[in-house]
């Protein structure tokens, strides 16, 4: 389980992805050198706060970045082939067929003027050349698969006639229609209530086991990651700071940011005495990135080394990756530093 993810056959390998947004005289690096891999049939969680670049990463994979954004560098290897080398026509054959995507807002992600059935059928028509009748039959099957009661009736309804949870099920049905190898889910449950979130996550896990696709799950909720994912990439300010398997991450997080993040969430299953730990300050804006490690200004362990130089992503013998000077040979601070020690508890 803890062997190197790289030795698996990977459905997706991202290397040094860079996506920027351009204004007249400014380049904002929203994603700046992101690398991670998803082994076949596994679930990778990408976590980060707002502004970490996690959603831009997911849109970059399908090459759905719109102006003034642009992928400026890196590789996105899907089943071994670099998606950045594909033509737009080739990409269209992949989208919704081999890689599909579900979005955060089930209320706005479905076209209000088409029935649920029409929207699912479209995938079958585009990618499998089915006729209208066949496509509708398959759509009803998909609706049944995602647990929508009386699918024969629902297939002819419009999105506004469905609840938020139902719509997200429809989105999943649409995404899974062509049996994709990779599903990208961008905050699929953030807009939903916890009891509905539990239903949707349960459904996604169940379908993943049955259909065997890889999933890239983007979320800000560490709990969701812990319950669903095999691997986790933690993002901060456009970079992956820690990439490891989920069990290791939650047992012994290594990056001071990951540690701080976990400690600042009040748990619902046990009490903590006194104040919550906090990470001081706030996420830097992409236009004013710190020179060295991007977390240095907020990091309780930062030294001049951190403030001046950007650390590399270091891979340890277990294949876990971390972007922090503390774990490098160059570390010049306290050699016994314990990232799990008490952090700040200010207001």
């Amino acid at each position: 389980m803890t062997s190197a993810p790289n030795t698996y056959e990977n459905i997706l390998e991202i290397k040094d992805l860079q996506t920027s947004f351009f204004t007249k005289d400014l380049e904002v690096k929203a994603v700046d050198g992101v690398s991670f891999t998803i082994p076949k049939g596994k679930i990778l969680g990408v976590v980060g706060e707002s502004g970490s670049g996690k959603s831009i990463t997911s849109l970059s994979i399908l090459r759905l970045i719109e102006d003034p954004g642009k992928i400026v560098g890196g590789e996105i290897r899907f089943k071994g082939e670099n998606l950045l080398d594909k033509t737009e026509a080739q990409m269209r054959k992949i989208r919704g067929n081999e890689i599909s995507m579900i979005f955060q807002e089930p209320m706005t992600s479905l076209n209000p003027t088409f029935t649920v059935g029409q929207q699912i059928s479209e995938s079958y028509k585009i990618h499998q050349g089915l006729n209208k009748k066949q496509a509708k039959e398959r759509s009803i099957e998909m609706l049944k698969l995602v647990g929508i009661p009386s699918p024969e009736k629902r297939v002819d309804q419009y999105p506004h006639e469905l609840s938020g949870g139902m719509r997200q099920r429809v989105m999943i049905a649409m995404a899974l229609a062509c049996d994709p190898d990779l599903l990208i889910a961008d905050e699929p449950t953030t807009a939903l209530d916890v009891t509905i979130q539990a239903q949707i996550l349960d459904l996604m896990k169940d379908l993943q086991e049955r259909l065997g696709m890889g999933i890239l799950l983007i979320t800000h909720d560490l709990g969701v990651v812990a319950e669903t994912c095999d691997y986790v990439a933690v993002m901060y300010a456009g970079k992956v700071v820690e990439f490891t398997d989920a069990k290791t991450l939650f047992k012994s997080p290594k990056h001071p940011y990951t540690v701080g993040l976990m400690k600042s969430i009040p748990p619902h299953d046990h009490d903590i005495e006194g104040d919550l730990s906090v990470i001081r300050g706030s996420v830097p804006s992409p236009a004013e990135m710190p020179k060295g490690c991007r977390f240095a200004p907020r990091c309780p362990f930062a030294t001049d080394l951190c403030r001046e130089n950007l650390p590399d992503l270091i891979t340890d013998e277990e294949g876990n990756q971390i972007r922090c000077w503390i774990y490098s040979d160059e570390w010049n601070g306290d050699p016994e530093v314990d990232v799990h020690a008490e952090t700040e508890r200010t207001t």
Partner: protein, 318 residues
């Protein structure tokens, strides 16, 4: 849906009552004695008295209003002071002339406006977009009576151009006045429709751009839908919904604009009737015609509202 239609119809009743009160009070708000004004300043006393009697001006106002409405509901809008004929038959044939003018203009405006708007939106910031929107801005800023005069000057009278310039040098084929034949219809329709075409083009463009930025368009792209289909099926269908409302309002606006167009082209419609009657101080005709046009407008708006509601399924039905 049926319930909604009934409710909307009932809701228009107070508006119609308000409109009728406003139109009715027109005559009474005129400073001075309406009977005297109608008869002319130097008219003999008994003639004024005669008019007053005929119009029931001696009754209390509410009684006058009720009898006016009562008559109007039966199709009796009083008699013209000028011709003595009843207002309803004065309006009669002219009604259809104006409606034809407005309908043709609307059709032309929708056709041109939609095409221009979609081209602009799909090629945002291109040369085509910039020029189309510039033309639209001009169309919006032109007084239609001036456009009408210029069209007459160029296409019905003709300008002195060297004879080797084809077509334009012999443009007197179009007729500068009247209504009925194709030669007579084209210029007024262009005159009246230009402003609306501009508004519809601008509205279509902004509505398209708005829709293109929606989440569900991204969903369609993520499904692998071709860009052409994304634009012409997924986006256009949603973008047209607000355009419907604008088209409806434009039709009403054109009924008003017809006053000027008809005046320029001497088209014998309701607009020209209003102007002629205002100048002749023929108040019953003015009142009657304005009432009819307002009624028509209210009905058109009602139809547009219902269509909008039907198209926009996101609004809950009842």
């Amino acid at each position: 849906m049926f319930k909604y239609i009934i409710r909307r119809i009932i809701q228009t009743i107070p508006v119609l009552i308000g409109v009728s009160i406003l139109v009715f009070s027109m005559m009474h708000l005129v400073p001075g004695d309406p009977a005297q004004i109608m008869a002319g300043e130097s008219a003999p006393k008994e003639q004024v008295e005669n008019i007053r009697e005929r119009l029931g001006l001696n009754d209390p106002l509410p009684v006058q209003y009720l009898s006016y409405i009562g008559d109007a509901l039966q199709g009796d809008l009083g008699n013209s002071m000028r011709s003595g004929r009843d207002v309803t038959s004065e309006i009669g044939a002219r009604f259809w002339v104006t409606v034809e003018l407005a309908v043709y203009s609307t059709i032309v405006a929708v056709f041109i406006g939609l095409i221009a708007g979609v081209i602009s939106a799909t090629r945002k910031y291109s040369f085509a977009d910039t020029s189309l929107m510039l033309i639209a801005l001009f169309g919006l800023s032109m007084p239609n009576f001036w456009l009408g005069l210029m069209l007459i000057q160029w296409f019905a009278i003709g300008i002195d151009l060297p004879s080797w310039v084809p077509f334009i040098s012999d443009t007197s084929w179009f007729k500068p006045s009247g209504w009925g034949s194709f030669q007579q219809v084209v210029l007024p329709v262009i005159t009246l429709g230009t402003g609306s075409a501009a508004i519809i083009a601008r509205m279509t463009r902004s509505s398209m751009l708005d829709v293109i930025g929606q989440d569900y368009i991204r969903t369609a792209r993520a499904k692998g839908v071709k860009e052409r289909i994304v634009v012409y099926q997924h986006a256009l269908k949603n973008a047209l919904i607000p355009v419907v409302t604008v088209v409806g309002l434009q039709f009403g606006g054109l009924l008003g604009g017809a006053v000027l167009t008809e005046s320029v082209f001497a088209v014998n419609g309701m607009g020209k009737l209003i102007i002629d009657s205002i100048k002749a101080r023929d108040f019953p005709v003015v009142q009657g015609t304005i009432l009819v046009v307002a009624l028509l407008f209210v009905i058109v708006n009602l139809i547009v509202d219902i269509t909008y509601r039907y198209l926009n399924k996101r609004i809950d039905l009842d």
